[in-house]
């Protein structure tokens, strides 16, 4: 077993072990602050500096155990299901239903205006459902807050940004989506706080569209037909997110299961 006689060697070992844990450098900085404060306190009670460092390090726990605790903790995410989580789950599950209802209304018999209007209204409800679902996700996972809130802000303003560009706006939207949602996707995937296949489907949809459009074009077809691929992936992902959030049991902070 490796011995850690000094704070520096301990921190080097810890840094290596938490390199792949989200916020790894912050973990090391916080450990350093703690260990140096602890060693200073021991020195003030009469210990020699080297002995104070050794004792501070020994009481902190081995780097392996500390890293293991952080890995466990990061897998748990920030999930504390709340009323907002459950409402967000409902909104996410409603989204595919609203989309299909809207699509059906749009493609209904011509001349039946009420049916058509109902479809348009249903599709208009997609937007608040989407926003509410994302807000609930962000609130649920506070640690992802900054990336999440940027994503929500972009989601709100992106239609206004792309509106003047007609169909070209869709391409702009895909670029914005990739730049802003990319980091959020990586954080969500690494934290494993939502079903990973759904995260992959959600964030991989634009790529799937690009591949689908390429294949359709090479086959001599209309690339526009490939839009069904990302739409289907989004709808499946939202239904999955919604179910995961809706079915999560509400926990209060002290009822979290203790881990051995």
């Amino acid at each position: 077993m490796k011995s850690h006689d000094s704070i520096d060697t301990y921190l080097d070992d810890l840094r290596r072990r938490v390199a792949r844990v989200p916020g790894g450098e912050d973990i090391v900085d916080e450990a350093e602050d703690h260990l140096r404060a602890s060693a200073a306190s021991l020195c003030s009670t009469g210990f020699a500096p080297a002995e104070a460092e050794r004792r501070a390090v020994a009481h902190y726990g081995t780097p392996a155990n500390v890293a293991r605790e952080f890995k466990r903790s990061s897998r748990q995410g920030g999930a504390v299901a709340s009323r907002c989580t459950h409402l967000g789950g409902l909104a996410c599950m409603a989204l595919p239903v609203l989309f299909v209802a809207g699509l059906a209304g749009n493609r209904g018999p011509r001349g039946e205006e009420p049916w058509h209007a109902l479809g348009i209204t249903a599709q208009a409800l997609l937007y608040p459902a989407l926003i509410f679902g994302v807000i609930a996700l962000v609130r649920r996972h506070g640690g992802l807050g900054r990336a999440g809130w940027v994503a929500v802000a972009v989601l709100v303003i992106s239609p206004l940004l792309v509106m003047p560009f007609s169909y070209a706006g869709l391409a702009i939207f895909v670029v914005i989506y990739a730049v802003v949602f990319g980091p959020l996707a990586v954080l969500l995937f690494r934290a494993a706080i939502l079903p990973r296949p759904a995260v992959l489907a959600f964030f991989g949809a634009p790529l799937a569209y690009a591949l689908g459009a390429l294949i359709v074009t090479l086959a001599g077809g209309d690339a526009g037909h490939a839009w069904g691929i990302p739409v289907a992936m989004f709808l499946v992902a939202f239904a999955w997110f919604g179910w995961a959030m809706w079915s999560e049991e509400t926990l209060v902070v002290s009822q979290r299961p203790a881990r051995a």
Partner: protein, 107 residues
């Protein structure tokens, strides 16, 4: 006190220690030790993941400051954390009171 028994209540204890005002990790752990009469003495490295988890859950907030040239993370209780602390404190007191009643009857 057995560590596993303490772990089940660690979140509540940490919220209670942070409640009086913003404080950094080292001070949180020292206060936990002092306030428990030096009974609660977990390896410090296992307490930080709990603080981070409480922050991700929205019960704590943190910001970085600088102390003697080192980065120092300072934690504070959020409104949501205060609500959770109040609710859990009441629940714990009811539980502990009931335990006392039963144990007293057994002597």
């Amino acid at each position: 006190m057995r560590r596993e028994a303490l772990k089940g209540h660690l979140d509540l204890l940490l919220l209670a220690v942070v409640a009086p005002g913003p404080t950094h990790g080292y001070a949180v752990i020292e206060e936990l030790r002092r306030a428990s009469g030096y009974v609660f003495d977990l390896p410090e490295g296992t307490i930080y993941p709990a603080l981070h988890r409480l922050e991700r859950a929205g019960f704590l907030a943190s910001e970085w400051s600088t102390n003697e040239g080192r980065r120092r993370r300072v934690y504070s209780l959020t409104d949501r954390g205060r609500e959770a602390l109040d609710a859990q404190r009441q629940e714990w007191q009811a539980f502990a009171g009931a335990m006392q009643l039963v144990l007293r009857g057994a002597t």
